[in-house]
Symmetry: C2
Subunit: 190 residues, 2 copies
DNA sequence: GGCAGGTATCTACCCGGAGTAACTTTTGCC
DNA sequence: GGCAAAAGTTACTCCGGGTAGATACCTGCC
């Protein structure tokens, strides 16, 4: 039927949204109107599928969050929008987010966990380095900080998605506080 | 042979260290000198095993890190020791750490990712709440911050374990900087 | 000491999902 | 119309988690 890579990936996203992140490759193939071998020819094995979906998800999230951040007044507000945006988008694409962050076929566990982060860290690092340089601080921390930030965002997202108790804005504000001012405490206002 | 829960878990830890985190339940049972059904009777299914191992690992790490932190001069130094300790201990028990953070049998993916964090967050939150109260700040952020901190630690650990480029102390210092002072920048000295 | 009953353990299986080989259909070309 | 190549499907294998039923062992009783 429709065998091109893009259509396959789109179908995969659709069915993951519907069936949840535990969906099987057979089901994904079926959802695309083809059978497994076609899926394999089109996108590769499960790890490749997860990776491809991660790329698309990252692209979309980056896009939207970038737009949000661009409208910020000041760096702290930018961070606040980034955190809020991340939470909101992860929640919107919940199943997909989970599929991509925990879906892999257990080849390399580390790789799996860092999939999303790897595709995002470079961009983060760039922003961080620029900001640090601008304020006369050492920019060499950028990459490590990127992974730290992404880890914090990821865990908070999972926790918040699971427990569903706290409201988005509250959590976003709290995490922004942590990431902006650190445990040491605020410098000026809230 | 030796069928009590503790012996099973100890054997599991041993074989995981030797064979790496991809080890199978059959292999674990064999390592304990028993067969799978005994393993099941003793500790339950794979999720239960992972959970039990997580508990032991958390207990050990908490223990050692607590000792390290106790010797700190001042809160920032305490955080620095916590970060360094976390990295060092995760590296020492690398395979086990990976087994526990990514091992589960794909039941609930969220649960899996947060396993370690869940068993640690409460303790963290207590410390954070106390510290915040002491400095006259709002302690209600404690739980969210705990997950944020643990996420940051986890991702940085994975990244650092995988790439193995940066030296422990450098990374620990950088992450301490992020967590203590935030993106906003340092208040006083480095 | 030998035997019944119960318990502990192992063997041998099922099940489901990833991944693939080999057969079949369709399509385009002469 | 016949034939070759491409595209697709069926029907497997393989592997790991999980379990049912057979088996060996151990205990208490006569």
């Amino acid at each position: 039927m429709l065998a091109d890579r893009d259509a396959l990936l789109t179908a995969a996203e659709r069915i993951i949204r519907v069936e949840g992140p535990a969906v099987t490759l057979d089901a994904i193939a079926a959802a695309a109107g083809v059978t497994k071998p076609i899926l394999y020819r089109g996108v590769g094995d499960k790890d490749a599928l997860v990776q491809a979906l991660a790329e698309r998800l990252v692209a979309r999230m980056t896009d939207e969050v970038t737009t949000m951040v661009a409208a910020a007044k000041g760096p702290r507000d930018g961070l606040r929008r980034l955190v809020g945006g991340y939470l909101a988008l992860a929640a919107r694409d919940r199943s997909l987010y989970l599929y991509v962050t925990a879906g892999g076929s257990n080849g390399d566990r580390v790789q799996q966990a860092l999939l999303l982060a790897d595709r995002t860290a470079a961009g983060f690092a760039e922003g961080i380095a620029a900001f640090r340089t601008a304020q006369g601080a050492d920019p060499s921390v950028a990459l490590a900080w990127s992974y730290g930030l992404l880890g914090a965002l990821h865990f908070v997202t999972l926790w918040w998605l699971r427990d569903g108790t706290a409201d988005t804005d509250g959590v976003a504000e709290q995490i922004t506080g942590l990431l902006w001012s650190g445990l040491g405490g605020e410098r000026t206002g809230t």
